[in-house]
C-alpha cells in the first residue's frame, strides 16, 4: 500500500496543503492530523467580526470544503507527540503510529502565556482557537472592565472589538506606541489616536506584575505598583511555534522549523531532508525578496503560499524556483482598515507617499535604500500596486 502524505496541523496550512497536493496532480492518500476537534477554520475573525457578533460558532468561520479533497483522511482531536524522521513515522497522543511518504509540518503557533505570583485563571483569556473566542465572547458585556495585555495587532483588534461591544477597555503594553514594530512610528501613533478617540485607553511603558482576586480576576497590579480593577484580562503577548513534537530529531527547531528556500526542513548539518516540509507560521525560511536570513512570518497569506509551493513540489517531484512569497496582512480596528505588503518590521525608516495621515494614506517602508514594505489606510489600488514592485 502507498504510504500517505501526512500533514501535521489541521488549520489553514494543513487544508491548503491537501488542496494543493490534489490540484497539482497527487492522487495518493493524504492524512491530516490536528489537535483541535474542529475542521479547518479561519482564525483572524476571532479577534474581530466573529468576536463582535452575537454568536460565535465554528460554522461562521469554517473554510469551505471542496470535492477535490473529499477523500482526505482527517484525524481530529488528536495531537502528534513525537516523530521518527529516520523511519518516516509520527505518533499521536493515543499511541497510534502513522507512516508517511512525505511529512508536512503545519503545526502553527500557540499564544505565549504569563505566569504570575497570584496565577488565577477565571476571567483570564487568550485568543487563538474558536473555543478561546467563545469563552471570551461570553464575558464581553456592556460595562465590563477589560484589560488587554499586549499592543500588537491581536491585542489592538481585540481591544477595538471589546470597546464596540460596550466594554471599558485598557491596553497595557511595555512599548511606547502600539503596533510600533509592524507599522512604524507614524502610522502606529495615528492608529493609537484613532483607538483613543473611540474610547480605548492605553497604558504604555507598563507591564502587569501580578493579578488581583481570589476565585476570579478582580484586577491587575502594574509594575509601578498601581492597581487597575478589571473583570476580564486578555493576554495578547505574541506566539510560540508548536515544535516540541519534533524534539529529538536531527532537525533545527530554534524559533520554529528551519527550512531552506525550497521549504525542506534542514538537518543540523545543513543538509535538507528530502521528504520533510514546512508550511505556515511555524516555519523559519529565507525569502530572497528581502535577504537570506530565515525568519518566521506570522501573516495570514504565508500558510497558503507555503502550501501551494510544497503541494506542487511533492505532486510533481520538482522543487521549481525558490520560495519567495510576498507577505501581506490586513487589520480592522473600528472603521480603520489597513492593508500592507512586504516585511515592514525590517524597515529603519518610512515615508508618507500618498494622502494624509489623518485620512486615507499610504506609507513606504525602507531598510537603507531598499523598499521592504508598503501599507495604507484606504487607497487600495495604490497599495495593491506594490505587489508588482516586490514580484520584481
Amino acid at each position: 500500500m502507498t504510504k500517505p502524505v501526512v500533514i501535521v496541523g489541521a488549520s489553514m496550512g494543513g487544508l491548503r496543503s491537501a488542496e494543493a497536493l490534489r490540484r497539482f496532480g497527487y492522487t495518493g492518500p493524504i492524512t491530516v492530523i490536528g489537535d483541535e476537534p474542529w475542521a479547518p477554520y479561519n482564525r483572524p475573525p476571532l479577534s474581530k467580526e466573529v468576536l463582535a457578533g452575537d454568536v460565535v460558532s465554528h460554522e461562521t468561520v469554517a473554510f469551505p470544503q471542496r470535492a477535490a479533497t473529499a477523500d482526505v483522511g482527517w484525524v481530529l482531536g488528536r495531537r502528534v507527540v513525537s516523530t521518527d524522521l529516520e523511519h518516516n513515522t509520527v505518533t499521536t497522543d493515543d499511541g497510534e503510529v502513522f507512516e508517511y511518504s512525505n511529512l508536512i509540518v503545519a503545526t502553527g503557533l500557540r499564544p505565549k502565556r504569563q505566569v504570575y505570583p497570584n496565577n488565577i485563571h477565571a476571567g483570564r483569556h487568550i485568543i487563538r482557537t474558536i473555543d478561546d473566542a467563545m469563552a471570551l465572547r461570553a464575558e464581553l458585556k456592556p460595562g465590563v472592565r477589560v484589560v488587554v495585555l499586549g499592543a500588537g495587532f491581536i491585542g489592538c483588534e481585540t481591544a477595538a472589538t471589546a470597546r464596540k461591544l460596550g466594554c471599558e477597555v485598557t491596553v497595557v503594553a511595555p512599548g511606547t506606541v502600539p503596533m510600533l514594530r509592524p507599522l512604524g512610528e507614524e502610522l502606529a501613533t495615528e492608529l493609537q489616536r484613532r483607538q483613543e478617540a473611540e474610547g480605548v485607553r492605553f497604558l504604555l511603558k507598563r507591564s502587569v506584575a501580578d493579578l488581583v482576586g481570589e476565585s476570579r480576576i478582580e484586577g491587575v497590579t502594574l509594575d509601578d505598583g498601581t492597581e487597575l480593577a478589571c473583570d476580564v484580562f486578555i493576554e495578547a503577548i505574541g506566539s510560540h511555534p508548536n515544535t516540541e513534537w519534533l524534539e529529538g530529531s536531527d532537525i533545527d527547531i530554534t524559533d520554529g522549523l528551519l527550512c531552506n528556500a525550497n521549504l525542506r526542513a534542514l538537518k543540523t548539518s545543513g543538509e535538507a531532508w528530502s521528504n520533510v516540509w514546512g508550511v505556515g507560521d511555524v516555519v523559519r525560511f529565507p525569502n530572497s525578496i528581502f535577504d537570506e536570513i530565515p525568519r518566521r512570518v506570522e501573516h495570514w497569506n504565508i500558510p497558503s503560499e507555503c502550501a501551494k509551493y510544497v503541494g506542487s513540489a511533492i505532486a510533481t517531484g520538482e522543487a521549481g524556483e525558490v520560495f519567495r512569497p510576498i507577505p501581506s496582512f490586513w487589520s480592522d480596528q473600528f472603521d480603520v482598515h489597513i492593508l500592507a505588503f512586504g516585511l515592514l518590521a525590517l524597515a529603519d525608516r518610512n515615508k508618507l507617499v500618498e494622502g494624509a495621515i489623518d485620512g486615507d494614506c499610504v506609507f513606504e517602508y525602507y531598510r537603507g535604500d531598499k523598499l521592504v514594505g508598503a501599507a495604507g489606510i484606504g487607497l487600495r489600488s495604490v497599495v495593491q500596486g506594490y505587489r508588482k514592485v516586490f514580484e520584481g
Binding site: E49, P64, R380
Partner: protein
C-alpha cells in the same frame, strides 16, 4: 457557468481577489469592489483562488 456571490456586508474592498481572478473582480475608480455574478467554468480555479485569499472570507461560489 459558475455563480459568484460576494457578501458586501463583509467585504472591505481589500482587492486580493482582483489579483487571482481579474476577469471576475475589479476595484472601480472609487476603490470599491465590483464583480460579475457569473463566469465561465474555465474561471473556476481562479475564482476558488480568490475565495481562498479573501481576508474577510466574503466570496462564495454558489454551486
Amino acid at each position: 457557468m459558475i455563480k459568484i456571490n460576494v457578501d458586501m456586508t463583509k467585504c472591505q474592498h481589500y482587492g486580493m481577489c482582483v489579483f487571482e481572478a481579474p476577469n471576475v473582480f475589479k476595484l472601480n475608480t472609487d476603490d470599491k469592489l465590483e464583480y460579475t455574478a457569473t463566469a465561465e467554468d474555465s474561471e473556476r480555479a481562479n475564482v476558488e483562488a480568490a475565495v481562498d485569499v479573501c481576508p474577510m472570507q466574503a466570496i462564495f461560489i454558489v454551486d
